[in-house]
């Protein structure tokens, strides 16, 4: 139990009459990289939104880092150590790299409510250190990120993880909008996270990427978990069969 970083039991989310997520039991250990796969609308993003408290769950329990948690909002989840790279990036285009990394948790020279004075140097130094750690190169961190490519922006979003020593990173389709070279760049960063022993939940549609990067694959279908597969014990066709509903793992059969 002690090396389980996140565990959910019966996690459920209903939007009115729509059962987007139904009784999800999930766990991830320290240092483990787990992929979540499934068709559009299978409940992957809904699952992530409950863990990160972007939405409030209908029912179910969540343990994070050894304790029962009930985060009031995404900031609380982030402060506890869950860092999320959202599908829509969640970056402010007009701001530069350090501003984006520290958005909502700035370092101050002097605290005075909204008029607290920012410590630009400390934030820039921390940014450069974490970019170095993740191997991200950016023309100039002081330029607004509106001038950066999709890959560079994604790297900025991921570099947040390295900056704040998160206990769990969640990436929601981090390479969906990227080109071949940029995808390789992001995948390399994910490998550095693996080497550093940082746990990761990766949502992806890319079978090659999933088999390249993770230890375990969890398949969602119509709001339920239908398979939990170790990478060595499965194959691409197998996973596709679970995603499309051609197959259901025996331990989950009674749900479907």
């Amino acid at each position: 139990m002690s090396d389980i970083i996140l565990k959910t039991e019966g996690l459920t989310k209903h939007y009115g009459g729509v059962h987007a997520l139904e009784g999800a039991d999930f766990e991830i250990r320290k240092g483990e990289h787990v992929a979540i796969m499934g068709d559009n609308g299978a409940g992957k993003s809904t699952f992530v939104r409950q863990i990160t408290a972007v939405e409030q769950r209908t029912s179910g329990k969540i343990w994070f880092d050894g304790r029962d948690v009930d985060f009031a909002g995404p900031l609380e989840a982030r402060e506890a150590g869950i860092e999320t790279v959202f599908q829509n990036l969640a970056l402010a285009d007009a701001l530069n790299v350090p501003d984006n990394l520290f958005l909502g948790r700035e370092i101050f020279k002097f605290k005075l409510g909204p008029f607290s004075i920012l410590d630009y140097k400390a934030m820039r130094d921390a940014t450069l250190a974490s970019l170095e750690k993740t191997g991200v190169k950016i023309p100039n961190v002081n330029n607004p990120i509106s001038n950066m490519s999709g890959g560079q922006r994604q790297c900025v979003a991921i570099a947040r993880t390295a900056t704040f020593h998160s206990k769990l990173t969640i990436m929601d389709e981090p390479t969906a909008a990227l080109g071949v070279q940029e995808t390789a760049q992001v995948e390399n960063i994910i490998r550095t996270l693996k080497e550093a022993g940082e746990p990761l939940i990766l949502i992806s549609h890319n079978m090659r990427q999933v088999f390249d990067l993770v230890d375990r694959i969890v398949v969602f279908r119509r709001g339920r978990i239908v398979a939990n597969l170790r990478k060595e014990d499965t194959s691409g066709e197998d996973v596709v069969a679970y995603i499309t509903g051609a197959k259901t793992a025996p331990e989950y059969a009674d749900f479907v």
Binding site: V54, G73, P74, L75, R78, F86, N88, L89, A90, L91, A92, D93, A94, L95, D99, L103, G104, R105, E106, F108, P114, F115, S116, I117, L118, G135, V136, K137, I138, P139, N140, N142, N143, P144, S146, N147, M148, S149, G151, Q152, Q181, E182, A184, Q185, N188, I189
Partner: protein
């Protein structure tokens, strides 16, 4: 060296690669407009726009003209400081000019004296004889309170009730203009205390404008308030997901804008020695224009106080330059219109060029 300057995917890292600040373009435009008036002045009317040509005055520049240039834009400039941060946050404020009118009338009603400087008796005080010659702090507090209240109402309606800023501030614009007229049924207010009229005397409006500009520059550039203002204007959803209390921040932004409009009302009425219901009419549009000419993006997220100050100076130079060229006032309005549109076109063109480069 090549291994340390090349990242994954061949992206280069160069700390020396800095962008040209957008304010530089505004400054170049300012210099160009001044130069144009200088050249046209020498060619057409045989006088210098910028330099002193009188033998009996011992200065290099025409200081009188330079003073007037900045004095005539300083009051709208104060409003523009507040409007700038509203636009950066992704909003708009159409009510600033009317808040000037409303705050000017209410403030001057509390700033009346029993007697004017010529010894004439104030026979018909607005609020009654017991409300004359109050301590100076009273009209100031009341005036600032009016601006603050209008700003808070703007902010609450926008943040809590999710009504578009354009509609909310349009409503406030009409409401406050009504308040301005309501106070005296449209009659001007005079017999103002000497303490009060001293506020806007001489070059004080310029000093007040510049002082406030420094404060607002500091707020926007170096505090959490400023950083989050840019953030919500740039990507409100991202700001919310980062844990920024967006609603509370918006109320604060519009409150500060309201306070600045009230300050402009105090300076303006004390300088004019009177409160009038028409004060600040259409100022909201001039203030927005100053911000936009200074590089503030109406889409939100971009702009600066320095840019707005330069935008205000461009305004002042144009008004002064047209007077200097002995051209009618309606040419000024045409020129202002052209410059606003040109500024936005240039800004978009610059942004596109930059996006293509990245």
């Amino acid at each position: 060296m090549s291994s340390s300057t090349h990242g994954i995917g061949g992206l280069k890292y160069d700390p020396k690669k800095r962008e040209r600040p957008p304010e530089l373009n505004v400054f170049i435009a300012l210099v160009a407009i001044v130069a144009l008036f200088e050249i046209l002045g020498r060619l057409i009317i045989g006088d210098s726009f910028l330099f002193n040509t009188k033998d009996r005055v011992d200065t290099l520049f025409n200081e009188q003209r330079l003073k007037i240039i900045i004095l005539q834009v300083s009051i709208i400039g104060i409003i523009a400081l507040g409007v700038t941060q509203v636009i950066i946050s992704g909003g708009i404020d159409l009510s600033s000019g009317s808040i000037v009118g409303g705050a000017a009338m209410i403030t001057t009603a509390f700033a009346q004296s029993a007697m004017n400087e010529y010894g004439m008796e104030n026979v018909k005080p607005i609020l009654g004889a017991e409300w004359l010659d109050l301590p100076i702090i009273v009209p100031l507090a009341v005036g600032l309170g009016v601006g603050l209240l209008a700003g808070i109402v703007n902010g609450l309606l926008i943040a809590k009730f999710k009504i578009p800023p354009f509609i909310v501030t349009l409503g406030m614009m009409l409401f406050m203009r009504g308040v301005a007229t309501f106070v005296t049924k449209g009659r001007p207010i005079s017999f103002l205390q000497e303490d009060y009229t001293a506020i806007g005397a001489g070059m004080n409006p310029v000093l007040i404008f510049l002082g406030l500009a420094v404060v607002m520059h500091f707020l926007l550039k170096y505090t959490r308030y400023g950083k989050h203002t840019y953030a919500i204007g740039s990507n409100e959803q991202a700001a919310r997901m980062s844990g920024i209390k967006v609603d509370r921040l918006k109320v604060l932004i519009y409150s500060i804008a309201g306070l600045l409009s009230a300050l402009a009302a105090i300076v303006m009425s004390s300088k004019a020695l009177t409160g009038q219901a028409g004060m600040g009419l259409m100022y909201e549009l001039d203030a927005i224009a100053m911000a936009v000419i200074g590089g503030t993006s109406l889409a939100g997220g971009r702009g600066s106080i320095l840019g707005t100050c330069l935008g205000a100076l461009i305004f002042g130079v144009i008004i002064s330059g047209f007077t200097f060229m002995r051209l009618d006032a309606f040419y000024q309005e045409m020129a202002k219109g052209i410059i606003i549109v040109a500024a936005v076109i240039l800004d978009q063109w610059r942004a596109q060029k930059q996006a293509a480069k990245a």
